[in-house]
């Protein structure tokens, strides 16, 4: 199983416990600054202010829910892959989210959160990479938090559940009640709008703070920037905050990426890789697939590193797809489960050079050669990714067989990751 799925599992347990405390807190009629207990989260003897528990729940749910949806896209899985309990948990948490962020009882929550954010701002600057990392992530999390009120509600997991919407509810009321309820709905709408405006205001302040942070960050030394880069890359992978998933959801550039030091200049020019297949006769739709795949692979490796990329692609729960790190499901993948249909494009991913390892370059190349034999005439482009390259071993063990396939019209693109493992370069092989 992938690390992401394991993380979702662990976090779902934490969120379940938190939800038990939240459901009690929501029913509690005391003010937001009242002290309550959170026995499932902090233990029976620890007091906490209601607003702090609500904030903690909302952030925990926000992060889990984002990982939940991103996992489905990134790994190419459907919702039914998850246990039913997770779908129920997600729905119940979302109902609590809506109650907290739009309810009159929690009207003052934005003011309290804003006050806390102001308290945390000061004239000083972070003094080490971990503090910088914390500041950047804190800003990002707080900013996403201010958008929580505008999320689309999660649909109930059981489609047969009756969930009366406003109009059907109103239609069964007597006339006087209908008018009264309609006025209440208008008041509620006004209130919701006012609350939403408060959150948007906090969001704008956080955006300004981010700009300031970015300016200060650019003035720090190279070592600090490199360390923060490393932490952000790991965080990005752990939360699947990759550019192609974030950009599909929002119009502005992904929030974490503006701190990415020179990532654009580090990005390998995938166009150079494409030139390898200039002479291959491919239908235009297949050429587009290769283009898409190369673009996505280079992006993915640049953003999360080759080690993380290879781990995800080779995980048992990886299915691929257009939102995955491979960029398309119209390809064959080695290593992969099952035989499936032969596709014109094959992607092979190896890790290490050990001849005994299943993912070692030698065993992966053996599978490539078997695939080429089985799919002769169909496979036209082979993209092989590796993190170690032994030229003499390649010449002795693989070159001549691949040359034979090359002579029949198959083109090979060998890409090797470097140090750090976010860089990718073309290995020049002349058949």
């Amino acid at each position: 199983m992938s690390e992401t799925l394991n993380a979702l599992r662990r976090q779902s347990k934490e969120l379940s416990n938190l939800l038990k405390d939240i459901q009690v807190a929501i029913r509690d009629s005391n003010s937001l600054i009242a002290e309550i207990t959170a026995p499932h989260t902090l233990g029976p003897d620890v007091k906490v202010q209601k607003w702090a528990l609500l904030e903690h729940f909302l952030i925990t749910y926000m992060e889990w829910n984002q990982l939940y949806s991103r996992y489905l896209e990134y790994f190419g899985q459907s919702d039914s892959h998850f246990p039913k309990s997770w779908r129920n948990l997600r729905f119940n948490c979302d109902q609590s989210r809506i109650a907290i962020l739009t309810g009159a009882a929690f009207e003052e929550l934005p003011d309290i959160i804003n006050e806390q954010l102001q308290k945390n701002e000061g004239p000083g600057e972070p003094s080490d990479p971990i503090e910088w990392f914390h500041e950047i992530i804190q800003n990002g999390v707080s900013r996403r938090f201010t958008d929580l009120h505008s999320w689309e509600p999660v649909k109930p997991p059981q489609p047969k559940t009756k969930n009366l919407n406003q109009s059907s509810y109103l239609s069964v009321l007597p006339k006087k009640e209908k008018v009264k309820r309609a006025l209440e709905i208008l008041d509620e709408s006004d209130l919701r709008y006012a609350i939403a405006e408060k959150w948007r205001g906090i969001g704008r302040e956080l955006d300004n703070h981010k700009q300031l942070l970015h300016t200060k960050f650019n003035d720090t030394d190279n070592n600090t920037q490199a360390d923060v880069d490393l932490f952000l890359r790991n965080y990005r992978h752990a939360t699947l905050s990759v550019s192609w998933l974030e950009q599909s959801k929002q119009n502005n550039s992904p929030r974490l990426f503006m701190f990415d030091r020179g990532s654009e200049s580090r990005m390998p020019i995938y166009g150079d890789f494409l030139r390898r297949i200039e002479n291959v006769e491919l239908p235009s739709d297949q050429y587009q697939v290769v283009q898409q795949v190369l673009n996505r692979i280079t992006n993915a490796i640049c953003e999360i590193g080759y080690g993380n990329f290879a781990k995800d692609i080779t995980a048992q729960d990886f299915k691929g797809g257009s939102q995955s790190p491979l960029g398309s499901d119209a390809i064959n993948l080695i290593p992969g489960e099952g035989t499936g249909m032969c596709c014109p494009t094959l992607v092979a991913v190896s890790q290490g050079s050990s001849k005994r390892s299943k993912l070692g370059f030698h065993k992966i190349m053996q599978q490539v050669k078997i695939h080429l034999t089985n799919c002769v005439g169909t496979t036209r482009v082979v993209i092989v990714l590796c993190d170690s390259w032994d030229a003499s071993s390649f010449m002795d063990e693989h070159f001549h067989e691949l040359q034979a396939h090359h002579n029949k019209g198959v083109e090979f693109i060998f890409l090797a990751s470097g140090a750090p493992d976010t860089s990718l370069s073309l290995v020049n092989i002349s058949f």
């Binding site: 993380a7 662990r10 976090q11 934490e14 002290e35 959170a38 989260t41 902090l42 620890v46 007091k47 906490v48 202010q49 702090a52 528990l53 904030e55 903690h56 952030i59 925990t60 308290k119 945390n120 701002e121 000061g122 004239p123 000083g124 600057e125 972070p126 003094s127 080490d128 990479p129 971990i130 503090e131 990392f133 914390h134 500041e135 992530i137 804190q138 999390v141 070592n223 600090t224 360390d227 490393l230 932490f231 952000l232 790991n234 965080y235 752990a238 939360t239």
Partner: protein, 173 residues
């Protein structure tokens, strides 16, 4: 061999209990180094936490505070932490956090202190020490614990700390 077996038993027995504090020692030069840092680079921080006036905090007060942090800790975990000076990871260590978010770090056997410091940002901005959250009310403590948990999770995700084994108070991420 016997000593190794005793140490490994000691380590596993610590899974859910606080260690016998009298067995945790400071190496004298390490103690002086970290005490010096707390009273120069971080001048005023511990003094404010401990209510020491006039400053600076003495070396005995610092030693005492490091022991109290372990005794009063609400969170305990083992992890490998990033060392910005050497730009690499330290060896596996034990972390203890108390309700002021003072952190004591010991070696994995819990025999020797590595350092003791105040987590910079969970109490509000720390950089010039004027933003200490001096609220010692019960609820404020609960608030701080929740904030610490979130920050802890972010550090694990970013691998600012890794190979983390949560023992008390913080979740497995």
């Amino acid at each position: 061999m016997k000593r190794q077996a005793r140490q490994s038993r000691h380590s596993s027995a610590m899974a859910a209990t606080k260690p016998l504090v009298r067995y945790i020692r400071w190496n004298q030069s390490n103690l002086e180094f970290h005490h010096n840092k707390r009273t120069t680079v971080d001048a005023g921080c511990f003094e404010e936490l401990l209510g020491i006036d006039p400053p600076p905090m003495s070396i005995d007060q610092y030693r005492q505070r490091s022991l109290e942090t372990v005794v009063n800790s609400w969170a305990e975990y083992e992890a490998v932490g990033w060392n910005p000076r050497k730009r690499g990871y330290n060896e596996n260590r034990a972390f203890y956090v108390d309700d002021d978010l003072v952190t004591s770090i010991t070696n994995i056997e819990r025999r020797e202190f590595v350092t003791c410091f105040h987590e910079a940002h969970e109490c509000g901005k720390h950089f010039d020490h004027r933003y200490h959250d001096n609220d010692r009310s019960e609820a404020a403590i609960g608030n701080r614990r929740l904030k610490y948990i979130r920050d802890f999770k972010a550090k694990v995700k970013g691998k600012a700390i890794k190979k983390c084994k949560a023992l008390r108070g913080v979740p497995n991420v």
